[in-house]
Structure formats: C-alpha cells, structure tokens
Point group: C2
Chain length 264, copies 2
C-alpha cells in the first residue's frame, strides 16, 4: 500500500520579472498528478495489459483524494486509449491482444462496405535480422547512428492477394531475442506479441502518408508492376512517455482498399 503524498501547489512566489518568464503553467491540477501516478504504475508493469486496475474507490483511498478526482484522471487515460472502462466490471489496461479489431492501428479497409467484419490477413514473415541503424532509422528511434536494430520485413495478404509490404525497425535492446521463428509462431497482432513477450506497449503512433512507385523488389512482393501507384505509410509508434519503439514503412496497394480517416 504505497501511501503516495500528493502535492497541491502552494502560493507561487512571483518575481518582479514574472512578465519576462516563459509561460510556464506552474500549476498542475490534482487529477493530472493522479494521472501521472497511474501512468507510472502502468509503465512499471504493476498492472499489466488486459488486467483490471484497482477500483476507483480503492485508488481514491490509495492516493487520498476523492473518487471524482480519480475518475477524471481515468477519464483522460481512457480517452487516450490507455485504459478501457467496462461498466459493472472495472477498468482495464488496454491491450492489443483480445481486441475487437485485430489491427488497431491499421486503417486500410476494403472499398465499399463501411466497417464490416475485417476478414483476417495472411501474414508472411520474409525476414528478421539484426542490422545497424541508418540515418533515418536512428533519427526516428532516437538512437545513435550505427546502433543495433532489428529489421523485419513481412507481407500481408487478403484472400491470397498480397496487399501490404512492411519494413519495420525495432531498437535492439528491448527486443533482444526476437526472431523470424517467434514472429511466425505467434498468432495475432504483432503488437500483442510485443506486449506479452517483450513488455513493450505501443500506445500512440504518427503516420506520414505519400504516394509512391515501388522499386523492383517491392513490386515483386506485391505482385504489381513498377508503375503502380502505392501508398507509402511511414509510422513511428510510441510507448509510454512518447518514447519511440518502432519505425515502420508500409507499402499499401489501394486498388480494392483505401486508407480511412475521420476528421473532426
């Protein structure tokens, strides 16, 4: 029972130069602090993906705040998809396994229907080898150039049609021991394997999308001509605290599918 003291900011001594200071908030609501403490417990693995966290009342007692304050903290973590509330059951750590959609971050959907049962993809691991980080990889993963990374290449096919060719790079240290065999043996999403086998939870990702032509080898894997326009989807996936843990480049065929996005 970690009785964690929570600090409420006292009156902040303001200097005569206050108008010159950077616009530093210098005020953190209680629920934000609670949110930070919950985040710590998530990161430390005290509560694991798929598990329930303590009830709101328990957390309120633990942090010595009211239930409403805990609630607001959980609310934000819930809208950020770090936690999942289930009425009557509890609040759970969001996981990439046991998910309704098999690939939470994959936005390529079949043309026509709106959001149907996604037919499952056949996965083919082409390669998984240790390499040294090049310029772009090291920049994306915030490593030094030349540090060891894992490079995975795979193809996703739908109904026998190769549709997605993905190259992905992972920092070597957290993913020590990852091999093509383990990737092939695993059923389910790759991010689920990262969670269970390596304790790495992908929490957020940024994507950059362009239209490109494939090179010769890419064209072979996707069984298209070198003149076929394809989506290039570059993704940096982050774990807690915005630490990048994967750099990925996908080539998507969009002859029978499209990348779907909602703006608001």
């Amino acid at each position: 029972m970690a009785s964690t003291p929570v600090f409420q900011s006292e009156s902040s001594p303001s200097s005569d130069f206050s108008s010159f200071q950077a616009a530093v908030p210098a005020f953190s609501p209680l629920y934000q602090q609670i949110k930070g403490l919950i985040l710590q417990s998530l990161q430390s693995g005290e509560w694991k993906p798929g598990e329930a966290i303590p009830s709101e009342m328990d957390l309120a007692a633990r942090y010595r705040v009211s239930q409403g304050t805990v609630r607001k903290a959980i609310d934000e973590l819930s809208t950020e998809n770090l936690l999942t509330r289930r009425q009557g059951k509890g609040t759970f750590v969001t996981t990439h396994a046991e998910e309704q959609v098999q690939y939470r971050f994959l936005k390529l959907v079949p043309d026509g229907r709106d959001m149907p049962a996604q037919e499952s993809a056949q996965r083919t691991i082409i390669d998984c080898k240790r390499v040294r980080a090049g310029a772009d990889v090291s920049r994306a993963l915030r490593l030094r150039s030349g540090e060891p990374v894992l490079h995975v290449r795979r193809v996703l096919s739908y109904a026998g049609v190769p549709t997605i060719l993905e190259d992905l790079w992972l920092p070597g240290a957290p993913f020590k021991g990852l091999t093509a065999e383990r990737l092939r043996a695993h059923r389910g999403a790759m991010y689920a394997l990262f969670e269970t086998e390596f304790g790495v939870r992908m929490v957020r990702a940024d994507e950059q999308i362009r239209a490109v032509h494939p090179d010769e080898e890419q064209a072979r894997w996707l069984e298209v001509s070198g003149n076929t326009p394809l989506l290039s989807v570059e993704r940096i996936a982050y774990t807690y605290h915005d630490v990048p843990m994967e750099w990925r480049r996908g080539l998507y065929r969009t002859d029978t599918r499209h990348y779907r996005n909602t703006l608001s």
Copy 2:
C-alpha cells in the same frame, strides 16, 4: 426563456420477451439530453459560429439541472470540436474562420518540420458551375441522381508550386447563389465562407485515401507528368446530425509534403 422540461426515464416496464428485444438502450442520461438541446440551439442558429453561448450557470438555470450536468454536456461537445471553451471568457461556438490553422481539415504538411507556421496557399478557382448529380455524388450527398449540385474546381499552390487539385460538389439548395466570383472574392478558408454566407457549418468529415495516377487534364493543372503517383483524398464533410453537405476529391502532390495522421 424557454423553460424546457427534461425527462428522466421512469422505471421501464420490462416484458417477458425482453431477452428477445433488440439491445435498445432505452436510457438516456440527463447530460445527453442537455447535449441534444444545446445541439438544437446550435443548429437553429440561436448561437452563431464565433459567438459565446450562455454561461454554464445560465444554461443550468434554463434547463433546470445542476451546473455539473451542463458541464458534462459541454465537455462532450467541446471534445467533438463543436464548442470551444476559453477559461475566464466563456464557451464559444467553434468556427472555421478566425482559426489558428487556416485549414482545419487539411492534413497535408511540409516534409521535415513538425508543425510550423503553415505558409499560406494561393488559391485559384478554376470553375464553379451547376451540374446534375451523378451516381457517386448523389450517393455521397444522399440526393436523388440528377438533382442539381454545384461543382467547384480549384488549385492550391504553395510558393508558386501547384500542389492540390480539388473537385468538390455541394447540394444545390443550401448553396444557392454560390458563384466563382464570390469564391474568388472571399479571403480565408472556404468552410468559413460556407458558415458566414450560407449558414452551413462543417462539423466532421470522413476521408478515403488512395494512390493514383492523374489523367491528362489533372496532370496539367498540377504540372506533373501523367505517371506521377498522387494521393487521392475523397472527403465527405458533414454538418449537424451527420447530414452530408460536401463531397470532395483532392489530388495531392506528395513530393515535398505528406499527409499526416495520428493514431491512438
């Protein structure tokens, strides 16, 4: 002072066949009802884009609920970008005019820098004419095939480089009187003009993205070869209550820019 009665669901009489009934919620929280009432006032134009709505206390009195309930309703409308809260000032109807980013729904950003000051685009209205809705347009806008719609074509250029070619279709009735001249005369985002001149607020949009080659005419406007891969971005923009009010197809050059998206 519209004293609006708010209904709290009484005990719902359950039938012996309840297990066979569709999973109808049959329970609407108070704050959801308040949210609906606020939405009505927004739609009816009682509060116009950019204006402040009544304070939380005033709304609480008007709807005869507590401030906290109004707050929760506004919270949701705020996360949906229909309202914008400004501490100390009030809650305002979100508008496409007077916005920090000139184009709220445009996700094409320059390569390299992360989120810099977006240099402004030069807009060239190519055409604006009345046509009859074809199959795809009528489906997207939920009109009957052959109904009159407006077709606008324009080019956006950055630093003199034509980068985006857009075709957009608008339902004829709400946009009666829209001409190329009015489009050309207007400074600022097109959606801002739609708000001020036609009372149509775009609230949400869905996009479908593919990689394509341009046809000859498109290639000329974008000053690229017919063999250049381009992003095709089809968008349906909705006003209140998910009513579609625009169908748009953009062709994006992605040689120095990319479509950016965040997943979570």
